[in-house]
């Protein structure tokens, strides 16, 4: 059952990618600035998948639906997957493989710096996303490492925010989503500590 669900979700996650390919090669209807369309659409999907991934644990805690966790890795990996066309377009079409220019961009332009940071932080998470790595690192250390996703998401939101000229509505939406999810995690973490202090109080 979960297998079927996973396959369906997997295919659904690929839909935006195939819609882009369709738009490029078949209908050629990505608007006047197709490179910008591709960059923005993949960028949006990276942030959406990051937010979806971050939703899993709070949702599980609120609903008690433990099966939700089975989808977390896939959603996180799809966030990483959509960084690949996003970066390819940047390197190929915006910078023409001029790696000196790219290095200057990363060093000098905050929105590129922070976007690149967000990407780099996702690499160890993608590598260590397998069960084998959870065992190798141990659950506690693995969970610690994977909290980096919050940094990655914040970096992604800043990347978007620092790019827009004036209208910050869209990056602000992602910012609020990530912010609320982070607050929820902090809140539950703090709350889960309280019984411990109460207990130690009783002992005393």
């Amino acid at each position: 059952m979960i297998r079927v669900a996973k396959t369906i979700v997997f295919l659904l996650c690929l839909v935006p990618f195939f819609l882009l390919l369709w738009g490029i090669f078949v209908t050629n209807d990505l608007g006047a600035n197709p490179v910008e369309t591709i960059t923005h659409r993949t960028g949006d999907w990276i942030l959406r998948f990051l937010v979806l991934t971050l939703c899993i644990t709070p949702l599980r805690q609120l609903t008690g639906w433990t099966w939700l966790t089975r989808f977390r890795r896939m959603l996180g990996l799809f966030a990483f997957f959509y960084t690949l066309p996003h970066l390819t377009i940047y390197v190929l079409s915006l910078k023409a493989f001029d790696f000196k220019e790219i290095a200057i961009d990363i060093a000098k332009r905050p929105y590129i710096t922070v976007g690149f940071l967000g990407f780099v932080l996702m690499i160890p998470l993608a590598i260590t996303s397998t069960k084998k790595w959870i065992v190798r690192l141990g659950g506690k250390r693995w969970r610690m490492l994977h909290r980096l996703i919050y940094l990655s998401a914040i970096a992604g939101v800043l990347h978007y925010l620092w790019l827009v000229k004036l209208d910050i509505t869209s990056p602000a939406r992602y910012g609020i989503a990530v912010g609320l999810l982070l607050l929820f995690r902090i809140w539950t973490a703090v709350r889960s500590r309280q019984p411990v202090t109460q207990l130690s109080g009783e002992v005393r």
């Binding site: 050629n28 608007g31 006047a32 915006l94 200057i104 929105y111």
Partner: protein, 311 residues
């Protein structure tokens, strides 16, 4: 009356975009067929060659020119103006001329343009966001209008304002820029041979999302200088505070000359993506040229001016 209503022209008479874009070849071919090639040597060069300022680079298709617009009065998304400006009426239209000018007064646009001959100029347009288009503008040199209006010798700048009408321009109901949109030029820039007031694109008036009924074109400057739907013109001795310079003074200046060596604080201006309607043309960026390739016409106006400071 100079401004024709669109309905005066049956659609069957409108030159198709394809023929229009290839009109020089079309005319040359026609001339050859008629065996008047030899005769054409006696014609003024411009008769067949179009404007001497024209670029022969691949033009951006009409469909792209009219559906990808930075026009915040009709929404901050580039795909919004084509939708939100659909019902925008550009007739009747008045232009208030004020300040250091012989006769400050409110004109009907039609009266103001009486006797002015419209022409077509194929210019590059470089947006500050590092994309560019090649657009055949339909309009006339701003200098023609300035001569008609007779500014006083004390006037040093010309200031333009977009119509302020939040009921008709939905973007003005929200505070993004400080409405109405203000742009301006030094008077010598305004009188430059390249500077146009455009009434339309591709040989026709309109459409509204491209700034009809009247917009500014300064091809050596970033696109945001091209103030649209002009409702006020003022001659002044003070440098106008322009809309984007007011919104983000460290990012956008009064001059806004295209300059590949002066980066926008957040991105490089060294290259650009040319929008030609084909994704393949965009696979590689092209080098941005100083003054967008119009150096020979504009350079002398800026001798002695530090273009790094006066971005």
């Amino acid at each position: 009356m100079l401004i024709k209503k669109a309905s005066d022209i049956p659609s069957s008479e409108i030159t198709s975009e394809h023929v229009y874009r290839n009109r020089r070849q079309f005319m040359k071919a026609a001339a050859t067929t008629l065996g008047v090639t030899a005769f054409s040597a006696f014609l003024p060069a411009d008769a067949l060659a179009g404007s001497k300022y024209d670029t022969d680079e691949k033009q951006t298709p009409l469909e792209n020119v009219t559906s990808y617009n930075n026009y915040y009065e009709f929404g901050t998304g580039k795909d919004e103006p084509v939708v939100n400006a659909r019902t925008f009426k550009t007739k009747p239209w008045t232009i208030a001329v004020s300040g250091m000018v012989k006769k400050p007064q409110v004109y009907n646009l039609e009266d103001l343009l009486k006797g002015i001959v419209l022409e077509d100029r194929i210019y590059r347009m470089r947006c500050v966001e590092a994309w560019s288009m090649v657009i055949p503008w339909h309009g006339f040199p701003l200098a023609t209008l300035i001569n008609k209006l007779e500014p006083l010798p004390s006037a040093k700048y010309i200031k333009f304002q977009t119509l302020y009408a939040p009921d008709r321009m939905p973007g003005q109901r929200y505070g993004s820029l400080n409405w109405p949109y203000v742009e301006g030029l030094r008077l010598d820039e305004a009188n430059n041979e390249l500077t146009l007031l455009a009434v339309g694109v591709y040989g026709k008036e309109g459409p509204a999302q491209n700034g009809a009924p009247l917009r500014l074109i300064t091809p050596w400057k970033y696109g945001f200088k091209g103030v649209k739907a002009i409702a006020k013109i003022e001659f002044t001795d003070k440098m106008p505070l322009t809309a984007w310079a007011e919104a983000a003074p460290n990012e956008y200046g009064f001059y806004a000359n295209v300059n590949p060596s002066v980066s926008h604080p957040r991105w490089s201006q060294a290259t650009e993506r040319r929008l030609t309607g084909s994704v393949l043309d965009q696979l590689r960026p092209i080098q941005t040229r100083m003054f967008n390739g119009y150096t020979q016409y504009v350079e002398r106006m800026y001798s002695g001016l530090d273009l790094r400071k006066n971005y």
